[in-house]
Amino acid sequence: MNVPAYNFAYLDEQTKRMIRRAILKAIAIPGYQVPFASREMPMPYGWGTGGVQVTAAILGPADVLKVIDQGSDDTTNAISIRKFFAKTAGVATTTSTADATVIQTRHRIPEAPLHAGQVLVYQVPIPEPLRFLEPRETETRRMHALGEYGLMHVKLYEDIARFGHIATSYAYPVKVNARYVMDPSPTPKFDNPKMDNCPALQLFGAGREKRIYAIPPHTSVVSLDFKDHPFTRYRFDAPCALCGAEDSYLDEIVTDDRGGRMFVCSDTDYCGTRQASGHRGTESAAPHKELPLG
């Protein structure tokens, strides 16, 4: 039987070279979606194969890897991907945002500011921001080439006409380097401002859709909006019940079937670090009790 033997970080070197070329091209054209010959990975499409391929291609033996899903290091898919690289690359792993050199993420940008030299790798399901307005790739590529983004503005305008607001709460479209409209992956729009002028390199991998795109450090990233309807962040208006943070994105935890709720940081490292330095919320170090709604 052909017993498999795997290379450092799983992918063979030819594949890594191909992916690195795509990454370099993506960095050279911020926000542009570069097609690449995505491989079948040993985890399902839609579960982070694009991010995993980008991470595998850039990872070196000295790197320190952090993997988060929904902001948390402890969600099952984050654990699974972290274990995959611990096993296939033998790299050090961490849950600390500050200590990591490579952070692979699904759906969140860490609360702690990123610094120069770090790489944030996003897992992307649908890389095309225009896809739900125009299903055809042949069309959307043409629209990007011509910078023809009127359709997107019409969509946002129609939201305002119907709902009084732009009714996009995550995967909120941005314009990168004043040229390409880009999908930030399904992060809540709360995270959008963190992408702008970020000192870290941001790489986006979409495995199933076979696209890589990038935001180089210190690149302008602007959330689309109108002068009279400026972009606004959304955050549930409460402090974190564990660490008391007033500035972090919150998960809503249903605590019973009678309307009980609590709100805690979605970023577990941020929350844990704050608690370790003495910050307290209403629920920390105390047995659970009912919280009034909102």
Binding site: P35, T49, F236, Y249, S266
Partner: protein
């Protein structure tokens, strides 16, 4: 204290341990062997090899066992292994005209040179559950005869001699064949890439698309010109040796559909081709593939693209079951933060809706 998602690592390990336990089933029952799967569930192995794009019966059998009989999961296992294999080069095109035929039928001519050979087929069996098969049944040995010395030319080649069917495009020996597993797919895609995509495509998806074309969604009346099953030699041109080295035989099924074409101002009316090819005995797959190959030639043949089966971007983007199942099943992953964002927006919209006294018919009319 909130601890909901903690302990995920332990949970994953235990879940996989339980999976291994359930896979084994009742431990008083003997374990199924790879030889049993390969020999007795051979059509399942054929499908996994075809859609997994890897001709290895043993690994396909292992994948089926590991996947507990879930075909798409087994195909996924084979694909993930295949992705790590180095590429030495491409083989010479196989010549199905020289196939050692075990089954060969044509629905276009009553008799053909070499004859019709039914071979091992479910066709014309009555689908009555057979209690004899439940255990210990020893089937009769198969009837045998001397192999026929007559050549078995492909039916489409017979039609081709009179120019009644379009010629197969001549292979350009210097042109490399596209490989969508090595180069990103772009649209419009040429026929080599379309055929590769269809060969790897989910059998059920192609079956439904082919069926839809028969029912009028992109209709082009097909005849099963020929379906043949048998062994073909695979050869690899070795640069060092300077000649093609035989690698061994593979079992393949080929289907050539013959379709109508009305001709155009520059071309005389003639039959056109739809082509299907798969590993092992995969008739439903190759027939469906041939139907969809033909419908996808609409652009090339100047036919109006009106149906899903004619739309290459639609077909090729959704035909891969490993991609499809991954994205459908990824909905099982946590989406807490996006959902929270949507909850926030929805609550806000509902508050505004109630505040505006939305029951007023005047307001609705004004919108």
């Amino acid at each position: 204290m909130y601890v909901a998602v903690k302990g995920g690592e332990r949970a994953i390990e235990n879940a996989h341990r339980l999976l291994a336990h359930e896979r084994r089933g009742d431990r008083d029952v003997p374990e199924v062997t790879l030889d049993q799967i390969s020999g007795q569930l051979s059509l399942a192995v054929d499908r996994v090899m075809t859609e997994g794009s890897l001709y290895d019966r043993e690994l396909a059998a292992l994948a089926i066992k590991q996947a507990r009989g879930d075909m798409i999961e087994a195909i996924f296992l084979v694909r993930a292994f295949r992705a790590t294999l180095p590429r030495l080069g491409a083989t010479e095109p196989v010549d199905t005209g020289t196939m050692r035929v075990r089954r060969r039928i044509s629905s276009t001519f009553k008799d053909i040179p070499g004859g019709q050979v039914l071979g091992p087929t479910f066709d014309y069996t009555h689908r009555l559950l057979d209690p004899q098969l439940a255990e210990g049944h020893v089937p009769e040995p198969p009837a045998t005869s001397e192999p026929s010395p007559a050549a078995m030319p492909r039916v489409t080649d017979i039609l081709g001699r009179d120019g009644l069917i379009e010629p197969s495009p001549k292979a350009d020996a210097d042109a490399t064949v596209g490989d969508l597993t090595r180069e990103p797919l772009g649209f419009p895609a040429e026929r080599d890439l379309r055929l590769q995509n269809l060969a790897r495509a989910d059998e059920g998806f192609l079956l439904a698309l082919g069926y839809s074309s028969q029912r009028g969604y992109g209709r082009n009346h097909p005849f099963a010109g020929e379906i043949r099953l048998g062994e073909v030699e695979v050869e690899f041109f070795a640069e060092d040796a300077g000649f093609a080295v035989p690698l061994g035989p593979v079992t393949m099924t080929e289907c050539q559909m013959v379709n109508q074409f009305k001709g155009s101002s520059t071309e005389a009316p003639c039959f056109t081709r739809g082509y299907g090819l798969a590993f092992g005995q995969s008739e439903r797959k190759t027939m469906s593939m041939a139907l969809v190959d033909r419908t996808l030639r609409a652009r090339e043949l100047g036919e109006e693209v009106v149906a899903p089966a004619q739309d290459e971007e639609f077909v090729m983007s959704h035909s891969d079951n490993v991609q499809a199942t991954g994205f459908v099943e990824h909905l099982k992953l946590p989406h807490y933060v996006d959902f929270q964002s949507e909850l926030g927006l929805l609550r806000k919209l509902r508050r505004e809706f109630e505040a505006a006294g939305a029951s007023s018919p005047l307001r609705e009319a004004a919108e």
